[in-house]
Amino acid sequence: MQTIVQTVARTLAEEMRRDDRVVVMGEDVGKRGGVFLATEGLFDQFGPDRVMDTPLSEAAIIGAAVGMAVHGLRPVAEIQFADYIFPGFDQLVSQAAKLRYRSGGIFHAPMVVRMPAGGGVKGGHHHSQNPESHFIHTPGLKVVYPSTPTDIKGLLKTAIRDEDPVIFMEPKRLYRAIKEDVPEDIEFTIPLGQAKVLRQGTDLVLISYGGSMAETSKAAEELAKQQISAELIDLRSLMPWDKETVLKSVARLGRVVLVSESPHTLNFMSEVSATICEEILDSLLAPPIRVTGFDTPYPYAQDREYLPGPNRILRAVQKVLEY
């Protein structure tokens, strides 16, 4: 039984043992083991050349990771909070994302940028955000956002072994909330772009990912108590995302509620919704409804209320069912 954050550290250790090109870098990832302890123990096992504390500069972290990757390493960079990607955003957009394309494939940057994301931890504006839309809208980046220890293991391994830059978002409010047995196989990987159907249903589809999976699952359980059968999908991977699985379920049931906690406008679920409408309009029995964060900066006092919690999800489900 292990938590998400423990799984991150153990998976990193496994991959570092397997492949000595894998290095870990970031603020406080060394002796401190990361502010969330996601790199705990690595410094002692692998030493300062493979577990590198960096200066306090996200541009230096992302940019240097690109240069290391180009030179043959497999850097796994930690951004201390997803909110702090922005000082390094140009390095991500202009360097990491476009290198393969602009060089016609002669250079590329196999690297992972890990970051704890999401609200509900009393972190206010800058320890709560979910910037995935910015990454997904940037061609050249792959983006995953798992929600369980097992998926963390399988997808982190795939990300590290991938030949392209992968943004690996971790649901920080679930870091220690879930414990489960995780496959011990060091070759256990999960392909990018595969959603997971957690629950088969007959009445409507609930789709979410990352931290919001917790609230969405809770809503599904609540519905079950009310004899409403929700099909529950965890997207896990956002770029590429599993259109097939989503379209199949939604086409079958005709009703869908989309849950994601980043701000409403241009939330990733806008893309999912637009795609559903474009491709299977006639199967829809009700409009797809998005239940999201609000179009405000992440507030401190209303830390929980900002999140799309079970109540808001249930209200949307009701709307969709009664439509």
């Binding site: 002796k31 702090y84 009393k122 800058h126 507030p299 401190y300 006092a301």
Partner: protein
């Protein structure tokens, strides 16, 4: 007033000090501060220390969600507040600067209202603790992103310069902050513009757990001023009067049109980085013990006592008064109503845009 101190030498390899560890005046110039001011400076440091201790208690008891203790940083912070002109000059502080805002005159109620996320917070409880701001005191409300307040600080200073308002800006930050691109972009612009601003680095040689020698290849922060064509001063950050004299000179130079300066105050972080940190993982108890012997409050107290300006009795009385003031503020806060849910939707823009009005309506029902 500080005419005879106008000759601090920039880029001195030894930190500037005016008080010895035992509280003797060791400067090559005469003390110019009057007794009241000296006592006030001390009281501000002591009150700030007590506030820090109270913060920690409040955090442990669940009344504050987070604290980044400022103990060990009081000297440059209190000195900065005294070096600028209150309500005229502008302050762009960082999260660890409560000795600064307190000394500038931010009320304990206002401070605690923010740090406890109360309805009485003038900033409407929008941010986590450790984000001070004040309209009347010209304290810019910062964001948590390290160094991101420095470019706005420079913008304000440029505005002062082109409109010849005679004001100055003081902005502070840690050693870690100097690695960010924003620090560089901002201080470089200030240097090119000759903007009236003082950059104060509170160098505690740690960014959470990261040692100064992993942060940068330079031996000091002060030397970095060379990159920007401005003077850089290295100051003993445990000597509040040294900090005061140097900062005062820099502020006056800024106001006089002589451009920006960078001041590095060498301080020591007595506590963990924050309530979310466990510093025993990366530093030893012994190290800490040694640091505490250089406590800036002790040094100033020794000085005052030698001048006959302070006593155990005065200390006791002041502590009692201060704790009482804390308690009064906390009592007021305890009576305050809850933060209204609907505040979540205000102040995103000057007006409530239609999509937010819709979200608000749907949410509040």
């Amino acid at each position: 007033m500080i005419a005879d101190t106008q000759n601090f030498k920039p880029f001195n390899p030894d930190p500037i000090a005016v008080l010895s560890q035992s509280g003797d005046w060791i400067a090559p110039f005469a003390l110019t501060l009057d007794d009241e001011t000296l006592k006030t400076i001390y009281k501000h440091m002591l009150a700030a220390r007590l506030l820090d201790e109270r913060f920690i208690k409040l955090q442990r008891s669940g009344k504050m969600s987070f604290v980044a203790p400022h103990s060990g940083h009081e000297a440059p912070q209190v000195a900065a507040a005294h070096a600028i002109s209150k309500g005229t000059d502008w302050l762009f502080p960082y999260y660890r600067d409560y000795a600064m805002t307190l000394a500038l005159g931010q009320s304990v109620l206002e401070i605690l209202a923010q740090t406890t996320g109360s309805r009485l917070d003038t900033a409407k409880a929008r941010q986590m603790p450790m984000h001070p701001g004040s309209k009347t005191l010209n304290i810019f409300t910062g964001a948590s992103a390290i160094a991101s307040h420095i470019p706005p600080a420079v913008g304000t200073a440029i505005s002062m310069k082109i409109r010849e308002t005679g004001q100055a800006v003081l902005t502070s930050f840690g050693d870690g902050a100097t690695s960010e691109g924003d620090f560089h972009a901002a201080i470089n612009y200030a240097g090119a513009k000759g903007a009236p601003i003082v950059f104060l680095c509170e160098n505690n040689r740690l960014a959470i757990s990261v040692d100064f020698n992993k942060q940068t290849g330079s031996e000091t922060i002060a030397i970095k001023a060379k990159a920007y064509g401005m003077p850089g001063y290295l100051v003993d950050g445990m000597d509040v009067l040294a900090c005061y004299y140097v900062l005062k000179e820099c502020v006056e130079n800024a106001r006089a049109g002589l451009g920006p300066s960078l001041v590095e105050a060498q301080v020591m972080r007595f506590g963990a980085h924050s309530s979310a940190d466990d510093d025993t993982v990366y530093r030893s108890k012994e190290e800490l013990e040694l640091m505490r012997q250089r406590d800036p409050i002790l040094r100033m107290r020794r000085f005052l006592e030698k001048q006959g300006l302070w006593s155990d009795k005065a200390e006791e009385k002041f502590i009692k008064e201060t704790q009482l003031a804390f308690q009064t503020a906390l009592d007021t806060l305890a009576e305050a109503e809850k933060v209204p849910l609907e505040w979540m939707f205000d102040d995103v823009y000057a007006e409530l845009l239609p999509h937010l009005a819709q979200q608000k309506k749907e949410f509040l029902g």
